[in-house]
Symmetry: C2
Subunit: 549 residues, 2 copies
């Protein structure tokens, strides 16, 4: 019996991690992170709960990475630190992984194995074939997994664009051959199941970019995702026809470009690239800069240009800035701020909303149907989506003829047991999200987040006081200070009045009362809470430190 156990990615965009298990052998598909939600204050990122792998560590034989995006490889260092298993991936994916493991001091001990599309890999009873897919990062693959109960196809993140930029079309032929061979189950990307039709092709994007750049009279600054090598190649090609020099700026772009060039995935003609320090020695209309910051990241090169704090690049009147990427939900305001500031500095800005200069890397509905029709699976299990995406994807599969009782609507932590002719969904694995803050793993939980939220919204008031242990007389304080509360100028009278509130309580509780200090402490809590709420409508955290000396 084959088991599929999603540890992440089925119920969210991000955290992709799937356990594939037969008998004594386990392998893992992807190990992704998610960026924290707004309420996860101070959290750097989120990884899947890997408890199941920890408990079965001796049976884990490897991890296969489908492509180099963070939601597929970002949790790899945390996995390898606990279970050092072989890692399989395509050359570009492993290039990025190598860089990442180096940063985590894990490269020396890691065992990385390059696999090319159409190559097969033996893992215990499994034979796994890599199938090229087209996505918004180069060198992505889907998987054809031959198991003792049948062939399982996993699409990875894919779309069906028919334009060759870097020669990496989705290998429709191979998916078709799988379909002819007979597929037990298809696991397919659900991200864009809400979108009708087809993704627009890279050729249209290229034509629009060329049109915009042709009209530009000053510098051109293109901000995009560092891993989008195909888009970078398009920009470089246009730069060449316009006789412009190219500058790569931003750490992640520099890393990604270096790896892609070494592998021959990106071609920048000899003499075309210049250094950032040389930019100002060329006329504005002879320069194209390719940079990061398309999501409004505050420390990115683009944000610094917009704020006027970039060391080498000051925005000029005729500069044309192109944001060739999606506005990811949650980032819109940060991006809009940067656009407004670029306009204030005189630049012209082109972005997705007003121009066709970006396309998603995930298949739209017609492409998803095509994948279903190519692979003709007996069972269908949507992956890579929030819950509504998974539901909508099962409905789409029903439209192309998969019967209701062959649709596997699963969620993280469930165990999907597959046999030749049937499946069963069992509950039982602990699956959840582990929050990473600084070097701590999983030490920030709900209670800590709640404390942080209250601190952040209401601020903090500390009361310090010391009593003589024997006489009960106040020997120090009350000293009251606040943080994140109200302006210093206004806290004056507020905190003075709060002192009076505290002193009245102290007078009121006679020295002979048992547990006098505890009693005073709890009355101070209540009284100050009421006082601040009635005077200014706020509920700060109140920390009374009363000590007996």
């Amino acid at each position: 019996m084959l088991k599929l156990i999603p540890l992440g990615g089925l119920g969210e965009i991000g955290l992709n991690m799937m356990v594939v298990e037969y008998g004594d052998t386990i392998f893992i598909i992807d190990a992704g992170i998610m960026f924290p939600e707004a309420y996860m204050l101070g959290v750097d990122y989120v990884i899947p709960d890997m408890d199941y792998l920890r408990q079965n560590r001796t049976r884990v034989s490897g991890v296969i990475l489908t492509h180099a995006h963070e939601d597929h490889i970002g949790a790899l260092p945390f996995l390898l630190r606990e279970i050092n298993v072989p890692v399989f991936g395509t050359p570009f994916t492993l290039g990025i992984v190598r860089h990442k493991l180096e940063e985590h001091d894990l490269l020396a001990t890691a065992s990385l194995h390059e696999v090319l599309p159409r190559e097969r890999l033996k893992i215990g009873p499994f034979e796994v074939e890599f199938i090229r897919v087209n996505h918004s990062v180069v060198d992505g693959v889907g998987l054809a997994i031959r198991t003792p109960v049948g062939l399982v196809v996993h699409t990875g993140d894919f779309k069906m664009s028919q334009t060759v930029v870097e020669g990496m079309l989705t290998d429709v032929n191979r998916f078709a051959q799988c379909g002819e061979e007979g597929v037990l189950a298809l696991l397919s990307d659900s991200t864009n199941v809400e979108k009708d039709g087809h993704t627009i092709s890279a050729q249209e994007i290229g034509a629009e970019l060329a049109r915009i750049m042709e009209a530009a009279t000053g510098r051109i600054i293109v901000a995009l995702f560092a891993s989008n090598i195909a888009r970078i190649q398009q920009v470089v090609n246009i730069a060449q026809t316009r006789h412009r020099k190219v500058v790569f700026n931003g750490r992640s772009i520099e890393v990604s470009v270096a790896i892609a060039r070494k592998l021959g995935y990106l071609n920048v003609p000899e003499g075309m690239e210049i250094d950032i320090d040389e930019v100002n020695t060329f006329p504005d209309d002879e320069v194209i800069m390719i940079t990061t910051g398309s999501q409004g990241e505050p420390m990115s090169a683009l944000a610094r240009m917009a704020a006027g704090t970039h060391k080498q690049i000051k925005i000029h009147q005729e500069d044309k800035v192109i944001l060739s990427s999606k506005f990811i939900p949650g980032n819109e305001k940060a991006i809009a701020n940067i656009i407004n500031n670029l306009y204030r500095r005189g630049a012209d800005v082109v972005y997705e909303k007003i121009s066709n200069i970006h396309v998603s890397g995930h298949a739209f509905r017609e492409e998803l149907k095509m994948m279903l029709n190519l692979v003709k699976p007996r069972f269908f299990m949507p992956v890579h989506g929030e819950y509504r995406h998974l539901v909508l994807h099962t409905r789409l599969a029903r439209q192309v003829g998969i019967p209701d009782d062959h649709l596997i609507l699963a969620q993280n932590g469930q165990i999907i047991e597959l046999e030749e002719n049937r499946f069963r969904i069992r509950d039982g694995i602990s699956a959840g999200r582990v929050l990473i803050d600084g070097k701590g793993i999983g030490d920030v939980g709900r209670s800590v987040l709640k404390e942080r939220r209250v601190l952040s919204e209401e601020g903090l008031v500390v009361v310090n006081m010391a009593f003589d242990e024997e006489t009960g007389i106040v020997v120090y304080g009350p000293d009251i200070v606040s943080r994140g509360f109200v302006f210093e100028t206004e806290t004056g009278y507020l905190l003075q009045d709060a002192q009076c509130v505290v002193l009245e309580i102290v007078e009121d509780v006679t020295p002979d009362v048992p547990n006098r200090v505890d009693r005073i402490r709890s009355r101070i809590q209540t009284a100050l809470r009421q006082y601040f709420f009635f005077t200014i409508g706020r509920r700060p955290v109140i920390l009374p430190f009363l000590v007996e000396i």
Copy 2:
């Protein structure tokens, strides 16, 4: 010389407030709020800086409200509390305002004056005519302001939809007559200047809503903006043809519906409305519920249904939920959570992304051009937009023939001086944003927000210690506690080690050192900062309370 002084709304969506001034007379157009940005931790809302009005209070003769949205009327209570001037508006707008002022205990002293479209109002040297505009709230108007230097037209928030739902089409004829009369300056809504073409008409929305509701076999729950009376009327009309009863649920909807019905703007046939407590006595396919929560607001009726905590309404398998409103940027994740949870409870959900069930209330580019062509102004000043919207709107005006030197690209706080044949932009007014948190007005500033951010992301560590004033011996502590930092279980060893760090410092600073306690305090700050950063990679706020007794 006529002066226009935008105090808000030119540089953001929200905070709309414009001063119009001639000689000794000032009147104000709109008094709006903005909802706080994500970084404004704990802030309830934001109002414009009204300092200029405070300084010129004796000259302020009134405030004119163009429509009942919060970004146009939300700051009115704060304005009236400082300067109690007459308020002018249409019946529905004043209905909502009355409710709002009652909540602020200001209704008794307020002076509210109803004005109807095509009526004129005299304010000092000004004559102001209301002109009907169509928008996503009923009873919106633009203004034709006759001034000693010429006619100024302000569009308010408008679009050009040609479908009559509540009989409130934009009064194109009147704008045209202004154009024929000769217009000195046009101030026009820039919100959707990034969108090509025309807004889709309310008729198309109605047809799509009817199609979806016709197919529904269970209850229908429609979530929308409370003030969108035209959309509510459409839903009521469809409910009637489908023989369904209507329930209004959610406080703001109930208020808005009551006002609209009283004014005859909303028609709910006799016997059609039922109470929320009666819902479960009707078959599911005979009920339509109209409710709030389309923005994912956590306490809304819809959020409670999605969470399963709504008192009267539990989601059933066949329920159809329709979110007939925009996903406002910043709210997407909250809305997506609600949609996912509704799917988990078995409901089917229809929303903007997958269906044409909403249209913006603001004109698209072709409609904006039409307004420019109708009014044929000598000068053009875009309003109601972020900076990039204002820039793009001036470019659009250039396309329809307004010369470059007749385009007024102004920002909040600038003074636009208008004469018959020229304009000048002067700087000089303090304009900004005032943050409201609880009952405090403007007492939360940058420094407080920064403290809140650090507290929220890193948490807090407090060190308490008392020294004998004479001997310098430690008589209490070090007592170390944390909030919003790490799990209690893990803080144990961390804070014990931190205690050792503190004690080592105390030993190290001999009793004869001058300002010994100050010195210990600053060394504790530094040492604990380093200790926590090296051990767990975090930078909590460290508050050392060291006292001498």
